[in-house]
Symmetry: C2
Subunit: 314 residues, 2 copies
């Protein structure tokens, strides 16, 4: 049983895996080792280094663990046709991302950037355009693990949460659920609109200028899912037309956001450099999920966490 | 029955009071009207305009409603000796203050000021010194309405809460309670130390340089109670000596914070200009408490909310 990593966990994390699974031959490499891949049974990767031809050569490969959540760079078709088990680290992002999202919301609501500017200028200014989070309404697009965690914490702040997914099926920590086709009629209710949508055929350019026109002029729009849920030119126009008050963006159509892009200089846009999911606990948590699944695998069981249907991509 | 206000609520708030209590003669003035005070039965004030001689002249006065929480500028001795009912707006600060406190904590934890600086410089920098709030420990000095609200929300973030008050008596949303004399032994456990203490004989200069020495070098110290719980020179020294990593200060020994004070220019100090309790909902909520108490008063009942023992000052 040979398990290839295409990234290097810390020394103590490596030792802990070897100790826990002495029957396994672990190979830890800083990048994808194409030779080792040919004989590997299991691959653990961040999901950005695999091509279709890799899958073709990896004749022994039975399971790919993606130690992240995004799968858009994976050769899903080839994985599906080979029936390779695909799992990811869905859920490990929920804590750092929910904290980041709430951080940005409260920072805007409590005028922290203005307060910081006043401090830089040595000015004691009590009149700030602060408002309360309590009593507001949040619309959360993508009501999975992260969306529900954001919803749970927002509810603790006294926020009404509306979840939105393809089906409108129920999700936890949402006061109401809607489906994608109810978006336009629901957007006018929301003070905060948060997209956590992955990039799929159904979500690409889901949000258009018309959607921004439906939002409250005082609303905060946040994109913490994937950049291609909207065309940035349309969001830019909506900000200029004051259809929304703020945009907080953790993801972009092109990353890094190109220098010279208007977002960099806009006072009502926060450029978060795809940083919301980063955490010192990231690899620890991903390896926890992997270890639990590996135990199942070695026991011949099939109760895996976080399996992905490679055909659908989620 | 004559009720004098020494501040002016909005027109609709005034009308609503008059409508609700037609038997009452309301007088709304922008500041304390000394003539009207002589014949007033009830005074509603922000609590910063009353002197001992006012109390002496206000021969009809039976009740003072302070539409704020701080009572340190009130002539408490004279009020006590006349047995005038004293109530305040305790509790109305809890929502805006808890939101402000959590906003500052998350902003530091998620490196939002650094992110903003990088954006101003047009720099895409993913490596930020972010950390998680989840799993940390907060020590909350002053476990009243505000402290418990802060504790409740921190618990939703997965934070362990330690409350601290004079007696060590239980308070809601605290995992543990300690009393003032257990502070030094408990401070080393805390990642976040939040003072919400009022200014009383027992809390003045309660926190000394020695206390800061007990804190974690990575800790965030926050003062959202009253400025004289510490000597600013001692906090300044502790920050220089790296006994604590950050200070977030909403209150100061002298307010406004004098220009030229070192805090203005320190990167690890946030100067919040006594702004955390400000809210558009402030007067609305204060008048709700007042209205409920006034209904009791007119019914001859004595089930008042938020009564203050003028002798003790809280």
């Amino acid at each position: 049983m040979k398990i290839l990593f295409s990234f290097c966990p810390k020394q103590d994390q490596q030792s802990s895996l070897k100790e826990k699974f002495p029957q396994v031959d672990f190979i830890f490499q800083k990048s994808l080792d194409e030779e080792a891949l040919k004989t590997a049974d299991i691959l653990v990767t961040y999901g950005e280094d695999l091509s279709a031809s890799h899958i073709e050569k990896a004749v022994q490969l039975k399971w790919i663990m993606v130690a992240s959540a995004g799968l858009e760079k994976m050769p899903l078709e080839e994985i599906a046709s080979r029936n390779i088990l695909l799992t990811n680290a869905r859920g490990i992002h929920k804590t750092p991302m929910a904290e980041s999202i709430i951080a940005h919301i409260l920072s805007i609501k409590k005028s922290l950037p203005t307060m910081a500017e006043n401090q830089r200028n040595g000015e004691w200014v009590r009149k700030l355009k602060s408002s309360e989070l309590f009593g507001s309404t949040a619309l959360i697009l993508g009501a999975g693990a992260i969306g529900s965690e954001v919803g749970r914490i927002l509810q603790a702040f006294g926020v009404r949460t509306i979840g939105c997914n393809r089906s409108g099926n129920t999700a936890s920590s949402m006061d109401t659920m809607i489906s994608f086709n109810q978006l336009k009629e629901t957007l006018p209710e929301a003070d905060i609109v948060i997209s956590l949508l992955p990039s799929t055929e159904e979500t690409k350019y889901l949000l258009t200028y018309e959607h921004f026109q439906c939002m409250k002029p005082s609303s905060i729009f946040m994109n913490f899912g994937r950049g291609d849920v909207l065309k940035e030119d349309e969001l830019l126009q909506a900000l200029k037309d004051e259809n929304v008050a703020y945009a907080v963006l953790d993801v972009f159509e092109k990353e890094p956001l190109p220098s010279g892009h208007p977002f960099w200089k806009m006072n009502n846009v926060i450029v978060s450099p795809h940083a919301s999911s980063l955490s010192s606990q990231y690899v620890v948590r991903a390896l926890e999920i992997f270890s639990r699944n590996l135990t199942e695998w070695l026991n011949g069981s099939k109760q895996f966490e976080n399996t992905i249907d490679a055909k659908r991509g989620y």
